[in-house]
Symmetry: C2
Subunit: 269 residues, 2 copies
DNA sequence: CATAACTTCGTACAGCGTACCCAGTAAGGG
DNA sequence: CCCTTACTGGGTACGCTGTACGAAGTTATG
């Protein structure tokens, strides 16, 4: 389960580091570490071993320093997680291009293609950094990367006939769908590692009970579906990600078309 | 963040208790507790104080027993979580009605209305038991409640022109959307309690940085949207749940219509 | 060169899940 | 009837966590 929280602790600290960068103090010995290096190591550990393996001691070992040295750079684990998140979100952003240019690029193939590309990017990001899904983003700390991503998405949808609130809801819809599905895939993929139970042992244990409900007259539809191979795991479309994404985009497209009929977008007839 | 895992530990035990019930041993003193009472207490604690407050010691205190007594009934915390999940899933199920009857009832207003009702039920369940979203269901332990829910959904969609795999993908799509959105709402709602930072303090800390990007020329669209009140929190439609649900259902409806044209459902012309 | 600012990091503490073990209780067999 | 056996209750202890505190070492400044 997830037990790490974003946006707790010293929010001001996280924000300052994210937006401002670090400034070197003048006196005393040179710092042997940096916030960036700590965040990088933390992401490395979380990627490889999962969020539950991410302890301050583990990060310190990774960096070859004492545990408490980390607290010279970061107020606590909560702030570190904030920084990890914004750093990960920033991976796909080109610092050379501002949000306007990026949105323009995405618009080239139409807003639907652009939205699809954003969704696929987010999907890949979550598969690359599965721990993100375990961070409860109760109060998203608005770092530059997440803000930039949001601006790009809003700009992409701007002028197609939706008002600001509708644009926001469309973005939220796509994001909810992507994260909801990513959760299923990520968790299934890491099940063996995380639970300490191998796939084989798990299904050996479930087997007798599966047989039980497959032959139960109360579950005929499931029995038929199981026989058709529905439960045989990944079919190459990560738990129906592509299928669902197209349905979601279809639904949004219908809405945009209806909104355009009610109130034609500027520039159209 | 989430750090509890379903489907680890003694899976066979969880399944046995879920499907079989407990049998009383003959010798020795009568057990003062029962698995059901422990699960109930655990859910109570998790509902009220969040998953991070759910410790074996806390449950024992709640029940007025020693911590280690719990281990007479449950092999460990992992199995307890399995049982909590299936118990929660079972809340909306009427034990008097079998899946077939329930599906029939849901079909009365058409498959779309039925699916909408399932989605809304799942939505309410997640808001009632927010901790469910923090349990990483890497390997879902197939308890009777989750199986029954799946059978009902499959039966509802049966015969409308989709094959088994397509039906499953539709269900997965709706479920992903609901859980993805529920996560946003639940986490936002419990932010103050969980993070130990009040709404006021949080926004006081974010404020200066919000101002910064709202006046930044790189984020004009966000600035406009913020002025339009897009960020002012819940607008009565839990982060666009209803909006998104209708878009998702629209997308599914279009797909079903297309599938029906290709290969007419049995019973139609 | 003394001082103040800064560094590293060992130790300690409370809380976690739970392994181990012993004491107490009640039913079954002689 | 009582001893054996199976069971329940739960105290103690261990290794893990995040992190508060403070001691010791390093360096730029007055």
């Amino acid at each position: 389960m997830t037990t790490e929280y974003s946006g707790r602790g010293d929010v001001a600290f996280s924000l300052k580091v994210m937006w401002g960068g670090e400034e070197r103090p003048t006196r005393g010995p040179r710092p042997g570490l940096s916030v960036a290096r700590i965040v990088e190591a933390a992401i490395r550990v979380a990627d490889a071993e999962g969020l539950s393996a991410l302890s301050m001691r583990r990060i310190a070992t990774e960096l070859g320093v004492g545990t408490m040295s980390l607290y010279r750079y970061v107020p606590g684990k909560a702030e570190l997680v904030d920084l990890m998140l914004d750093t990960a979100y920033g991976e796909d952003l080109d610092p050379e291009r501002d949000p306007g240019q990026e949105a323009e690029r995405l618009r080239a193939g139409g807003w639907r293609a652009g939205l699809e590309q954003i969704a696929r990017g987010s999907w890949a990001l979550h598969l690359r950094h599965p721990w993100i899904l375990q961070v409860s983003q109760a109060r998203p700390v608005l770092g530059p990367s997440s803000i930039t991503g949001l601006e790009i998405a809003m700009r992409l949808l701007d002028g197609i006939g939706l008002d600001d609130l509708q644009m926001m809801k469309v973005i939220t819809l796509v994001d909810s769908y992507v994260t909801g599905t990513a959760r299923l895939v990520v968790e299934a993929g890491q099940a063996a590692q995380r639970t300490g139970v191998s796939d084989e042992d798990f299904w050996d244990a479930q087997g007798p009970f599966l047989m039980r409900f497959l032959s139960d007259e109360r579950f005929p539809t499931l029995a038929r579906a199981a026989a058709a191979g529905v439960f045989s795991g990944d079919d190459g479309d990560g738990f129906g990600f592509e299928f669902g994404l197209q349905r979601v985009l279809d639904g949004i497209e219908a809405f945009v078309a209806a909104a355009g009929r009610d109130r034609p977008a500027p520039g159209s007839a």
